[in-house]
Amino acid sequence: MTKDVEVRVEDKLYQNRYRVDSGRSHITVTPHETPSAELLALVKLCPARCYELNGKGQVEVAHDGCMECGTCRVLAEGQGDITWTYPRGGYGVLFKFG
């Protein structure tokens, strides 16, 4: 199965329930000139597609759709590419089924 299928992640996330802590991101990307291999990998790897490349080729994060899986923490926190903490109590993704 070598062909990749087009997927609209935003449509998937639309089914989910969130209580977004506006203006308080629980993930931050460390400012950088050129992104590390890990940061670049997150653009593809993040299941909620929270990570995107901006016009200057730097990686940015938008936490709204985050499912708090921790994949980015495992990959990129240790080397200082990102900071990761839990959303405040009661905020973030609220799984209906889990």
Partner: protein, 434 residues
């Protein structure tokens, strides 16, 4: 909050609930912290529940627990792009009075579980994120800092049941953050269908259920698995791959899931369904060698936070229940004997774990994660393709003499792996299994 508790449990998943319930039932003053809106709202699993472990905690659980279907059939599929080769086991003996395995929906089950924890007397504080462990100057854990105003709470002992992505233990340096080689990222969707449709498609009646575990080209040469579980009125379908493999290959998890859903063997099973949720979660896959230190001065760790998952038998929450219960029992026992929860006394937890099926099973398969990971191309790509070709060659009748067909099949195996490679794989697999 200035009152002091006998124990604080961080997290209200399987491990945390098992620990909190065990201690509360023994009369300990227990505080449980959960960052979600309710117990279960942050928890994700396939999910299969094994009854034996739940029975030990709540013997009459079948009376009112939200169970979906009891499993009567297990299917293992080895897949290539167009086919699957299956091993199915179905038995009428699973239609028993006290079934052994059920599918569950975690947010519902955990909510029910938490009700029992509260009825036993534990205080469950939801919408409260634990942000760090409080330690005395000598490093002994004495409580937890939460994100509430005046949010420090003190206790004799803290049980960390904070999940695979738990922050407290790693922030305090009690264990390392999981490595990318030791966790899989799984994505899952909930597909709703009328129950009669599910029963017809999976050959089920009443509350019978079936599960499919699938491996092969769906993970594109990475170490990974797909799964399809039948609930009462929904189907959980998902796929997980080791994070380091995903990072290296650049495959997106949602694209893998989409391709799995569109596979000709899978698509008819979920056709016409309504998707109501998309979830993602990490699964500990490192096995025995990835298990961190289990306890120390004033603390214990249980469940996914301790990387406890038997990946071969799909026992994550089962080990969480067992370890949570053992952690709770250890704390209650020390309290009963008037012993301080020092590192030395809490080592009883480690001893219990080592003597139990939890660590014995993980030890049995200790070499499996590394083998599957190192040989992912062979086990998840080459062999499934070869097996599929061999099966097709066997069942397709086209006038070619059978001896010639067999020769072709053998040739394709040797060409792909060589005799040494085949024998080596077999020996390595047998050793890792033993």
């Amino acid at each position: 909050m200035t009152e002091k508790f006998d124990a604080i449990v961080v997290g209200a998943g399987m491990a945390g609930n098992a620990a909190a319930l065990t201690m509360a039932k023994r009369g300990l003053k227990v505080l449980q912290l959960e960052r979600g809106e309710y117990a279960g709202s942050k928890n994700v699993q396939g999910a299969i529940l094994y009854a034996a472990q739940v029975e030990k905690l709540i013997p009459e659980f079948r009376e009112d627990a939200p169970l979906e279907r009891h499993l009567v059939e297990q299917r293992f599929w080895m897949m290539d792009d167009a086919s699957h080769t299956g091993l199915h086991y179905r038995s009428e003996e699973f239609n028993e009075e006290r079934p052994n395995r059920y599918t569950i929906i975690r947010s519902q089950f955990d909510r029910w579980f938490s009700k029992h924890v509260q009825q036993a007397g534990a205080i469950v504080l939801t919408e409260t994120t634990a942000v760090e462990l409080l330690q005395d100057p000598r490093g002994r854990v004495i409580g937890v800092r939460t994100d509430r105003a005046q949010g420090d709470v003190l206790a004799d002992v803290v049980i960390l049941a904070e999940g695979v992505n738990g922050l407290l233990g790693t922030r305090a340096g009690l264990r390392e953050r999981p490595t990318r080689e030791n966790v899989a990222l799984a994505v899952k969707e909930m597909h709703f269908l009328p129950r009669e449709t599910i029963e017809a498609r999976f050959n089920l009646k009443g509350d019978e259920g079936a599960v499919i575990e699938a491996a092969g080209t769906i993970s594109r040469g990475m170490a990974g698995m797909g799964f399809i579980y039948t609930n009462r009125e929904s189907i959980s379908i998902g796929i997980g791959c080791i994070v380091s493999d995903l990072a290296k290959t650049g495959h997106s998890p949602y694209e893998l899931l989409e391709a799995f859903k569109r596979h000709p063997s899978v698509a008819p099973l979920i056709e016409g369904s309504e998707v109501k949720e998309y979830a993602a979660h990490l699964i500990p896959e490192g096995g025995y060698k990835a298990v961190p230190k289990l306890c120390g001065d004033g603390w214990l760790v249980a469940g996914d936070a301790a990387q406890l998952n038997n990946a071969i038998h799909r026992e994550g929450s089962n080990l969480a229940l067992a370890s949570g219960q053992m952690a709770g029992e250890t704390v209650a026992e020390l309290k009963g004997r008037g012993l301080e929860p020092t590192a030395r006394n809490l080592a009883l937890y480690r001893t219990r774990m080592m003597d139990s099926f939890v660590m014995q099973d993980l030890k049995k398969y200790k070499d499996m994660p590394a083998l599957l990971h190192a040989s992912a191309q062979n086990f998840f790509l080459t062999y499934p393709q070869l097996v599929s070709k061999a099966m097709q060659n066997f069942v397709r009748v086209d006038g070619t003499p059978k001896i010639e067909k067999e020769r072709r099949t053998m040739k394709s195996f040797f060409a792909a792996r060589s005799i040494g490679g085949l024998v080596g794989d077999a020996v390595r697999m047998a050793r890792a299994w033993r």
